[in-house]
């Protein structure tokens, strides 16, 4: 029951993410989503495995504390509030997100689950979240919002990882933690360079190179 509720909330937060124009709101939704997902393994009753508890703690700490900390610092320094003039508007983004969620349900329907798997919503939710992250990445101009997109994409992979984490903990945990921590960390460093070089984190400045 509880896991299904968390999954539903995750999918709802996808919609909020693509619909908001305030960068700080987008960050808050991504953090909320990260924390919800961090709690998922405990809600799924995997709390008896010590290493999974550690994964949950790591996920909640990184997504709930460390990443917001990095974001807040970057936001303070660049004084941006809104994602102005995205490549794809908010209404269209919202419709695309709905379409993506629908497609994820269809796609997941064609992928069989191992007999006895309780959480049938995990796969569609994972694909829908992945799609949302991708949408944010390609449709937004601010480097910070693009990193939020990457974070959401990563949440989608994490959701799928939950299907496997009990049986293949090393693969899932190492993959997810490395991807998350390192990706965000390095992007944070580059954002800092962008800020210094352009006095802004708008990737529109990064449009000199083209054919």
């Amino acid at each position: 029951m509880l896991p299904d509720l968390l999954i539903a909330l995750t999918m709802l937060s996808n919609f909020s993410l693509v619909a908001t124009s305030r960068v700080s709101k987008a960050i808050q939704f991504a953090v909320l989503q990260g924390v919800l997902l961090g709690l998922m393994p405990l809600a799924m009753g995997l709390g008896r495995h010590f290493h999974i508890v550690l994964l949950a703690i790591a996920a909640v700490t990184v997504k709930g504390w460390f990443i917001p900390f990095l974001f807040r610092r970057a936001l303070r320094q660049v004084h941006i509030q809104r994602e102005v003039d995205p490549y794809i508007g908010y209404t269209v983004s919202l419709m695309l997100c709905a379409l993506g969620t629908g497609l994820s349900l269809v796609l997941a329907h064609n992928l069989p689950l191992k007999a006895g798997t309780e959480y049938t919503l995990l796969v569609p939710a994972s694909l829908a979240t992945l799609f949302t992250g991708f949408l944010l990445l390609v449709s937004r101009r601010k480097a910070l919002t693009q990193v939020v997109g990457y974070l959401v994409l990563e949440n989608g992979i994490y959701l799928f990882g939950l299907l496997l984490v009990e049986d293949m903990p090393a693969l899932v945990e190492a993959g997810i933690l490395l991807d998350l921590f390192v990706g965000i960390f390095v992007m944070g460093i580059v954002i800092n360079h962008i800020r210094v070089a352009f006095d802004s984190t708008d990737t529109r400045h990064l449009a000199e190179l083209k054919d």
Partner: protein, 485 residues
């Protein structure tokens, strides 16, 4: 041996970071490159059966790819000290560290026997190559680095999801960890088909992004255009080879599971698309480094096209990996020299390179002829055999499209290259201190020489290795050629 190949470069990276003298640091690169190549040759000479339970080890396929990377690294490393001396204004502490780090991680990837470890190695090579692209520390290189990081990270994330899908396919079939490649291949029949297919699509897209297959190549022209030729050569022949290897390992699992036909169709389609896309952007390309980047997109297309055709073409696709890496190093490094000499990499400023920098100009011209498939260089051999492999196995449409695209690319590239190489140097030229010297041209001559030799004569041990590597790619397990310690 297994660990030395990984640890020597990684330790050297730490040393390079600590050394304060730039000149001394620059010479660590060739020293470590030679040492790595030496260790690798010893490791490859002493074949031994690799136990199925090994987590690390060189098989023929991994050994071949690592050999290509190691030779390429040596060429670039011997070029590096002279090049870095030309750029005294830029601190190369991070560059040297990351180059050496890359070599260590590539060795890890080549020897990984588990898709998870291969993925970790691929992810970390992305990270160490990002600072390489940012070497010039200007706005343009920053833009290139950002695109590389964002697109590369998405690609690598999709590859992770694909790897997890394949793990789930095994999980459905009752297989549990450790899911090494050998185990996945032996139990191919048990893997769940829908998950395996979906997993392959995701890994193809993910690792394909890292290789720079169209339409996921958009980071490539920017990244290759803004980095020194030295880094461009290593990215075009090294990082892409790593991603190709990671993809081949997954392909081998899919082929062993009997889903090869499905995978091959996708590979052929991606290959054709990459070649066609590259051709479109090569026409009237005025930036020589971006031209080379599109050429790299094209050759990644040739690689996956050859694997998709299978048989003879697959074997020569593996051979093409070496041919492409060698010739690309000649092209990128000579383009770097020309860039140094003209202080520009764009037409119409760069003309008459044969007069101004005769050696680099000739090397650029010969490199162009070699990469577009002129005999007797190695790319001719591979491109010819891939085409004949395609035509002889009934891929009439694919084979002829392949030849037409090669012809078109030759014409498109020649337009730019002819202007760069021939013609008279323009009057309002910028004076630069750069002159061709043995230190900046000898490594290129060696690389071109190797490409020439491989085009005419293939040493028998290499031939054997290539044969075994191509059977591994087709999903057949060959324990005999595996080597350890």
């Amino acid at each position: 041996m297994v660990w030395l190949l990984i640890l020597v470069p990684l330790l050297a990276a730490v040393v390079a970071f600590a050394v304060s003298s730039p000149a001394l640091r620059a010479w660590i690169l060739p020293a470590v490159g030679l040492l790595h190549l030496g260790i690798l040759l010893v490791a490859l000479a002493g074949w031994r059966t690799l136990p199925a339970t090994a987590w690390f080890g060189l098989d023929a396929l991994g050994g071949w790819v690592l050999l290509v990377i190691s030779v390429l690294f040596c060429i670039c490393a011997f070029y590096a000290p002279a090049y870095l001396a030309l750029r005294p204004e830029r601190d190369h502490r991070v560059l040297s560290t990351c180059l050496l780090g890359f070599l260590g991680l590539a060795s890890l990837l080549a020897q990984a026997r588990h898709p998870g470890i291969a993925w970790v190695a691929m992810e970390t090579t992305t990270l160490v190559s990002a600072p390489l692209i940012y070497f010039n520390h200007n706005r343009r290189s920053l833009e290139a680095t950002w695109k590389y990081l964002v697109i590369g990270s998405v690609g690598i994330a999709l590859a992770l999801l694909g790897t997890l899908f394949i793990a789930y396919a095994a999980h459905m079939g009752g297989l549990e960890e450790p899911l090494r490649y050998t185990r996945l291949m032996e139990n191919g029949a048990l893997l769940s088909r829908p998950w395996l297919r979906a997993g392959f699509v995701l890994t193809l897209v993910g690792y394909g992004t890292k290789m720079g297959l169209a339409p996921l190549h958009t980071w490539k022209p920017d990244a290759y255009g803004e980095t020194p030729g030295l880094v461009g050569a290593l990215l075009a022949g090294g990082v892409t080879s790593c991603a190709f290897l990671a993809l081949l390992r997954i392909y081998a699992v899919v082929a062993a599971a009997g889903e090869g036909a499905f995978a091959r169709e996708l590979l052929v389609a991606f290959g054709m698309l990459s070649m066609a896309w590259a051709l479109v952007f090569m026409v009237r390309q005025t930036d020589i480094k971006r031209l080379l980047a599109y050429s790299s997109v094209e050759h990644m297309g040739i690689l996956v096209f050859g694997i998709g055709i299978g048989g003879l073409a697959a074997k020569f696709a593996l051979f093409h990996l070496a041919a492409n890496a060698l010739v690309k190093s000649v092209l990128f490094l000579s383009a770097g020299n020309i860039h140094r000499s003209y202080a520009s990499k764009q037409l119409p400023f760069v003309t008459g390179a044969l007069r101004r920098t005769p050696v680099s100009g000739w090397l650029f011209l010969l490199g162009f002829l070699a990469i577009t498939g002129m005999p007797p260089f190695a790319p001719f051999l591979s491109e010819f055999n891939i085409a004949s492999g395609a035509l002889s196995t009934g891929h009439l449409l694919g084979g002829s499209a392949f030849l037409i695209l090669l012809g078109g690319i030759f014409l498109a590239m020649s337009e730019t290259v002819v202007q760069v190489v021939f013609g008279t140097p323009s009057a309002q030229r910028v004076r630069t201190p750069y002159k061709d010297a043995p230190a900046t041209t000898a490594p290129l001559i060696v690389a071109l020489g190797l490409a020439l030799v491989l085009g005419i004569w293939m040493p028998r041990p290499l031939q054997a290795m290539l044969d075994h590597a191509s059977t591994t790619v087709d999903g057949v397990l060959t324990a005999r050629m595996e080597v350890q310690r």
